[in-house]
């Protein structure tokens, strides 16, 4: 997180706000609720309290306007800049302006969720600058999140509490939701959700995030899954790259999603039975596509299935027990992929390097071996 110069903040904990006008995109009560909820995001974790004014000048004046709207920082029409807010101070300080040329919504993915945009802007109104933590609310790029399940990320909690301290009032009967932590690629104990190649890159999935490792860069780039695939699930079970260029399959519980580029392939998500798995399989642990044989391997518990992509059927003789083919695996496979002719099976925090044809185990490596820690 970062704060403004000299840790600029309000010198009082009771602040006022006023909604000066409304967007026609939403009903007035939806705007009122979104703004109130966005302020409460910050009130929950600090001693700050907000009171609404209906006339006069409030600390935080909230308005919707397009292009030039009276503050010498004109908006730019649809897209790009959605809103801006001023750091704490008298006059225009603390005020939040929303670009009327955008389409704001209550919770739809079509348009920008006003609650998310407002909560971010109020972070500025209270003294937070932008964060370079991609999971943070104060990251400058808009990301869709369901407002009903939103929890202020740890980075923002630390940021705002560095200015105002924690909320002294805690309800002992209500368990506070834990902010989602940002996973550390270099944590040697991390258990990855899934690993796959995609057009020469390696993708490593964990919770809402993935790291993308390109041949030209030794430093993997972290990103939110939904930044690249807006319609994808998070905390996936498995992933693999199809033989069709640019196509990737993501698995979660009993469903599979297919994406070409960032786009969801029409007809998806489908059930696991669509890839030939028996109805009794509730989820898979890992998957990989074997380039040499044209088979897709699905790992489920202590067994694995082999699916023939050309014949579109599951191979006879499967499922097989893992130890019939892969010696030395201590437990179930948690992620799997192929790279430069080798098959890598992850089990917990370790990665096992195999020759798939012979089943020979070459090396046991830490799971962040390819993450260049």
């Amino acid at each position: 997180f970062s704060t403004f110069e000299n840790n600029l903040k309000w010198q009082k904990n009771s602040l006022t706000y006023r909604i000066e006008n409304y967007t026609p995109d939403m009903s007035m009560s939806e705007v009122d609720d979104s703004i109130e909820k966005a302020l409460q995001v910050w009130a929950k974790v600090t001693p700050l309290r907000f009171t609404r004014l209906y006339s006069g000048t409030a600390d935080i004046m909230i308005s919707f306007g397009g292009r030039a709207h009276g503050d010498h920082y004109p908006f730019d029409g649809p897209g790009s800049t959605l809103a801006h807010a001023f750091s704490p101070g008298p006059g225009i300080g603390g005020d939040a302006h929303f670009d009327e040329d955008e389409t704001f919504t209550l919770r739809s993915r079509k348009g920008f969720v006003l609650f998310m945009v407002a909560a971010h802007e109020f972070g500025h109104s209270l003294g937070l600058s932008h964060s370079d933590d991609r999971s943070a609310l104060m990251y400058p790029v808009y990301t869709y999140k369901n407002p009903d399940t939103f929890v202020l990320p740890q980075d923002d909690v630390k940021g705002i509490q560095s200015l105002y301290g924690p909320n002294p009032v805690k309800n002992p009967f209500v368990a506070e939701p834990q902010p989602p932590p940002t996973p550390d690629a270099c944590d040697s104990t991390i258990v990855l959700d899934a690993v796959t190649t995609l057009q020469g890159e390696m993708l490593f999935f964990k919770d809402s995030f993935f790291w993308r490792s390109t041949p030209s860069s030794r430093t993997p780039q972290q990103s939110l899954i939904t930044n690249l695939w807006p319609k994808a699930p998070v905390s996936i079970d498995a992933a693999y790259e199809s033989q069709q260029p640019g196509k990737i399959f993501l698995f979660k519980r009993q469903h599979v999603w297919a994406f070409t580029g960032s786009d969801l392939v029409p007809g998806y998500p489908k059930s696991l039975t669509s890839v030939g798995l028996p109805r009794g399989v509730k989820n898979i642990d890992a998957a990989l596509y074997d380039v040499d044989s044209g088979k897709t391997l699905f790992f489920v518990g202590n067994s694995y299935f082999s699916y023939d992509d050309a014949r579109k059927t599951m191979d006879n003789g499967f499922p097989k027990r893992l130890d019939q083919t892969f010696s030395g695996l201590p437990g179930k496979v948690t992620a799997a992929f192929q790279y430069r002719g080798f098959t890598y099976l992850y089990s917990g925090p370790h990665m096992f390097e195999y020759n798939l044809k012979t089943g020979r185990l070459y090396r046991v490596l830490r799971n962040n071996y390819f993450l260049h820690c």
């Binding site: 970062s2 959605l82 057009q199 030209s216 780039q221 640019g246």
Partner: protein, 80 residues
């Protein structure tokens, strides 16, 4: 994901973005012939902030981030 060519229009867009969000200033007076160009320096700053590969040149990944909807407050600098 698809790699596309960076056009002159993209370069102009990127310069506007850097002026707006990374305090890139217009060069005035005698131009500096040696060293890293101000645009390249600001591109590196932007790439570092967004966790992109730091190349100092405009590539498709950098352009994609610039085109995402965002907040109007400058990054990494303090607007007085």
């Amino acid at each position: 994901m698809p790699v596309s060519e960076v056009t002159a229009q993209d370069e102009s867009f990127a310069e506007t973005y850097l002026k707006k969000f990374f305090n890139l200033t217009e060069e005035s007076g005698p131009s500096v012939r040696r060293g890293i160009s101000p645009v390249s320096k600001k591109l590196s700053e932007m790439q570092k902030f967004f966790g992109l590969q730091i190349t100092g040149t405009l590539d498709s990944d950098t352009l994609a981030v610039m085109k995402k909807p965002r907040c109007g407050v400058p990054d990494g600098t303090v607007a007085r």
